[in-house]
Point group: C2
Chain length 599, copies 2
Amino acid sequence: METKYRTHTCGELRISDVNKDVILCGWVQKTRNMGGVIFVDLRDRYGITQLVSENDPSVFARETVIQITGHVQERESKNKNLPTGDIEVVLSDVIKILNSSITPPFTIEDETDGGDELRMKYRYLDLRRNIVRKNLELRHRLAIETRNYLDKLHFLEVETPVLIKSTPEGARDFVVPSRMHKGEFYALPQSPQTFKQLLMVSGFDRYYQIVKCFRDEDLRADRQPEFTQIDCEMSFVEQEDILNTFEGLVKHLFKTVKGVDIPELSRMTHADAMKYYGNDKPDTRFEMKFVELKNSEPDSPLLWRGAGGEAFKLFAEAELVVGICAKGAAEYTRKQLDELTEFVKRPQIGATGLIYARHNADGTIKSSVDKFYNEEELKKWSVAFNSQPGDLILILAGTADKARKALSELRLEMGTRLGLRDKNKFSCLWVIDFPLLEWNDGDPNVLASLAGRWHAKHHPFTSPKPEDIDLLNSSPGEVCANAYDMVINGVEIGGGSIRIHDKKLQAKMFEILGFTKEEAQNQFGFLMNAFEYGAPPHGGLAFGFDRLCSLFGGSDGIRDFIAFPKNNAGRDVMIDSPSAISDEQLNELHILVKKENHA
Amino acid sequence: METKYRTHTCGELRISDVNKDVILCGWVQKTRNMGGVIFVDLRDRYGITQLVSENDPSVFARETVIQITGHVQERESKNKNLPTGDIEVVLSDVIKILNSSITPPFTIEDETDGGDELRMKYRYLDLRRNIVRKNLELRHRLAIETRNYLDKLHFLEVETPVLIKSTPEGARDFVVPSRMHKGEFYALPQSPQTFKQLLMVSGFDRYYQIVKCFRDEDLRADRQPEFTQIDCEMSFVEQEDILNTFEGLVKHLFKTVKGVDIPELSRMTHADAMKYYGNDKPDTRFEMKFVELKNSEPDSPLLWRGAGGEAFKLFAEAELVVGICAKGAAEYTRKQLDELTEFVKRPQIGATGLIYARHNADGTIKSSVDKFYNEEELKKWSVAFNSQPGDLILILAGTADKARKALSELRLEMGTRLGLRDKNKFSCLWVIDFPLLEWNDGDPNVLASLAGRWHAKHHPFTSPKPEDIDLLNSSPGEVCANAYDMVINGVEIGGGSIRIHDKKLQAKMFEILGFTKEEAQNQFGFLMNAFEYGAPPHGGLAFGFDRLCSLFGGSDGIRDFIAFPKNNAGRDVMIDSPSAISDEQLNELHILVKKENHA
């Protein structure tokens, strides 16, 4: 790391370097004036070295960049917490100020006083903070190890184009007006899906790319308009091959980056995930599975019926009565139970109320619906929930979808409250057998013209399971796909599928999705044509790299794992983008900004 | 490489596998029907395996994808040119057609009958050809080795944003209309320049990224609207550190990817490159340096003067008389000399004529201007050019810029004709000390409004040499920069500079480039503000990755080293992009396509 400017970095000197003359460069982190002698923490990316100086303290203003020459000596009081803590550097007179600093708008420390907006505006200062830089170092390490693993398995990294064609059948595209072709536009890829499939048609056999993708969505906390995927595809494979290969990748990453051995991934069908966790990405760090007291199946359990058949009205009218057993929560106070009730009644969750039954330490069971259920009936609940003295049973009722969704949120909340969601514990699983299609009755993230149609759950290139192809016409909603998600700690880290490689089936799929023949040919003709020239069976998946990084970094948000993220309005507040462009530019691009919005 | 579909690839079986039962998948490359027995070349990415079958030959139509089971046996007549040439696979009855193929529009062979346009339209078939796939495998290998080298030197790979802000001070930007912010646009980066500098301000110290960049230029053969850079930046460095680090990278790539040891890179100033090669990216695989018979310096050589001071008019009126000595070309026929004259008179070169002097085998010298120059004077030319019997001296005259440019083209042409430009020989050098600025008197690749101004030769962030800062006001054109290009075989492979890290100097630079204070603040305020918080001295460079790949692949064009390139009109003819988008999309983006162009 020696350059013309320095002999060592600030993280490098050890006791074995004592008596060396060194030149260091770095930022003044802090100073301690001990009456005539000043101790300075000099910081760079590699660490902190203590300097000892008798110089004028004003030289050492915070965040000033200095170059010093000095002599390494052993410290009297060593700092065991610093790798350089055994030594200090006694400065000669030569202190060169390489650049001064005005006072930063927030403190450059792990614990900063800077708010989110301020940190984003001065992201270049925020990135100086150890904890933020460490996140990006982690990201680098994950990328390197991903490449190492895939390279060894003969995956070829191939760059696919960024300026492609708009095919807004999923989310909205970002588009780029063409100067050379008036009235025409490129689009930025939502994923390199069709290109990686073409590479399979080309015989590339194993492809990967760590690649930027783009989606013009209304943003949420963990979404960015541009995001990064580990994008992969393989030929001559069945689902099993893909699951094994990428289970291997994730094990390799945990092993090399975190030093953790993770066990073989369990597998759960999408149907089971919905039934037992109300969620297609269940957090399986803890059990707390759903138990149904009533459902819409012919053999529905009858546990919801009250004494003598006199049912609690809420349960009687509900499509689904479903609950969880929170271990050791029977002692919850009235206030805590009220909080939980408020939690499930929030508009974004939308339950009408929460029923509970305490399994008391003395073995008795006390519920909020004692009016309708006697002790004997509650005992049956206890058996169904496998509750033990000390447990708390929580029950929701309503339409199946809403009740499951609400109970899933409540389950996660209880997991958090009971300390069952340890960020240092990792539970990885495959969710498999996803439905091929879902009905779109108006999704704000897709064009309005696509509402009232079947929508591909994964994407239009996913193959139905061969045994379900006959259902495509009669019951599209029941068709299953060889589609799979990797879920870690309740986060969808990756997903993929076996693809269609037959032109006729692909055409059928577009028909079901509501494309006219012309639209399908216009947007995806190149792919269907390619399938006529010996397309091999193939499949693949993509990992959300930003999320993978945040998971490894023990964080809920992806933003601090992206060097220069955008805010929730899709704006880069540091460079102030998006922004207006000149009339000269608009003119050359043959476009006008509309005066009024006739939306 | 075993999957549910195959036990081996088509490149894997050897004599040691004889007697194994195997399952292979691949494409039918070709068949030879030997009366009852058919030999089939089965191809995949890994190689070709010979199959022996007694099946119906119609199964083996070209490019059909099949899965076969068979038994490995030793070949009677081995093929030494194939790694699998010692064995063949005798097929069982089970031949599964995985997908059929209609007749491809061109032959899938190294030597194809497909023209450029057809190959691009069916790029997925073109990519099946060995030589094209090998190019992309080379690209993968170069990327991996680049990362290995930089990772070992503690460079961090950091992803910078793709949706940034339009700052069209160099080439034109591609822009992206914002749906959420009416009338505002993102721009795609021409390079991550400002972001990598901000990372230096953040203390990242060593950054790299293999990254897509975008320039909305009128295209040439070796340009693409999107291209890939190896982008690097370092802090606390002088030019020398950067040159050494990246000379090391290129040596590492030559060593690991091509097995070639390249010697230490020579260095040439920009002034010398122009004087001796008429070109800032000289092809130094061969010498043939320029010799000036007259120039505009006070001590100009007088060799252009004719007998008794009676000068040849063309030379007398020229600003520069300059030539090269082509070794061993004295035997060139009249026809060959006429061809050279036609070559330099082509409009894109624009010389008015070509003067030559043959240094004959008998030692006499015979020129096309014998009328003006006697044998004694021509002998002086011979001394100046260091010509030997058998050499041909070629001379051009005119304004300095035009004569140098034309002679540079002629020099390269002679190098090619004399076989001095061997694609397997590599001559690498640094061109250093570039001028900071150049005058823009109307460049078609930048906005018209920027003509009639000083233009940054490298970019506006390049630092003038400290000793030249005083010239910024008085003689901007004479200011030199610590800017450097790496040139290999006459191709600019990379370039960079030491950057400005002082706010005032950066502001001064924008002023010289014709920015108002407001424009500078509006476009680059974030960077200048960042310089106030302890910006370290830094510099870096970027390699053109597409060009590097084509150089390593021994090709002149970059297109075959890009999986899905665009044509010279910026169009992807395979997917047919750019293309029209729907009114619904335009409406959401608050833009209209202009009815008429009021340019």
